[in-house]
Symmetry: C2
Amino acid sequence: ADTMRRQIREMHTLTSRPFGVNLVLDFPQEERLAVCLEERVPIISFFWRDPSHLVSRAKEGGAIVMHTVGSAADARRAVDAGVDVIVAQGWEAGGHVRGSVATMPLVPAVVDAVSPVPVVAAGGIADGRGLAAALALGAAGAWIGTRFLASNEAAIHPRYRERILQANEADTIYLDNLFDIRWPNAPHRTLRNQTVQTWETTGRPASGKRPGEGEVIGTSKSVGPIVRYQSYTPGADSEGDIDAMSLWAGQSVGLVSKTQFAAEIVREIAEQADSILRQLP
Amino acid sequence: ADTMRRQIREMHTLTSRPFGVNLVLDFPQEERLAVCLEERVPIISFFWRDPSHLVSRAKEGGAIVMHTVGSAADARRAVDAGVDVIVAQGWEAGGHVRGSVATMPLVPAVVDAVSPVPVVAAGGIADGRGLAAALALGAAGAWIGTRFLASNEAAIHPRYRERILQANEADTIYLDNLFDIRWPNAPHRTLRNQTVQTWETTGRPASGKRPGEGEVIGTSKSVGPIVRYQSYTPGADSEGDIDAMSLWAGQSVGLVSKTQFAAEIVREIAEQADSILRQLP
């Protein structure tokens, strides 16, 4: 929580624009939420499980509350709980994936379910074409992850960034619980790597019975030893067998081919979407 | 082939506009292709496997050739083989599904791979929002299936149509080879039904070892007896346990809630897409 407080204060010195903190509800978040509200974080984004018990506290603390869902039914429940903005996350998203419906059919279904509550489209979006498509589907905006992993600002390991830049749209895999150490039972999408391939060629054994369970494959200054199958974002402060770690990536990874500054990525995406929507129909 | 010839001739009497015939290349199609070309079918659409050996024959016969792919690499191969129009089919599509990349990230990747060859987006599209999104992604048009299953013209069983109208976006499942009798090893998407649920609760046994293998669950005038796990589109001429059959549907099924004439569906989708693109940004 101290690290978080320091990071939030730094953010406030870097921008006067709104920013958000994402809190994953498979872990206790009461203390972090309190820090966020004390430090006037403008947007609290909840992910995974039912956020009902924290929504009113966040709103009373002055934050706008977002929640990420994978179905129209979950979206309705979130709105009933007071959530201000719904994030509709498609199955093609990278990292942890809440549902099994792809962005294209999910977003209109969620919009129909919660309109006029704003819906942000997540999953499969990496450029202005995706943003324009999201807006056409009825979304108020797009949530973009993978493209920003390739930004200069993302504090990921250079080898992970290299893998992102090289991968094409068919190089990811959706996994029910492969990288489940430290975060069990949470489906996710990563690049196919040697850990995935070995698990597949050995017949997809269940968690606890996989080749190399418990094997330390690297270390991170902030996290400590990293074991095989750990849910871990390979950080700039890590070393070891980066290629064997959980290389989170969405299917939009095929559209990501260069490293840029985050501001440049945002500008490029907005301009491309604008240009597409002006030219169509 | 005689039935097909009769149907093509009927189509020519019904319209002077272009129409297509879809040929699935997991089955011998030389004879059907010859009939199509003799009868001047304007568009030949190939699906599944490499179409290279048939493309030049179709083009020399005067047809425009389309091929459905699930990745940018497959799209490039198809264009190299002379295909005129690429159909990029996302994982959220209903019926048999060629790839595992969703429409949102697939279409731009395919467009980048084959431009200026036209790309048609398939999978997850059921209304004008989806068509507008497809165009924003760089597609030249949209391929729509599930919505037309609910049309008055679709010769499907009324109970199957009812299931389509009732289902929401989360009610489908992608299956590697569950409904594999008569068409093995071809992944597909259907509504979850009792056949799917029983197979899941019995531990997803392999083909040949599933509960009720070989059991006749219905009959069709045109096809004969229908067994459990058969790849079969429940037709208006079928009877039996329709609910237990392969109820093909894409994830856009959540956007399909009424029966309409096909012409009305086309008009409504085009008008909605047009209106969205005029209002954005």
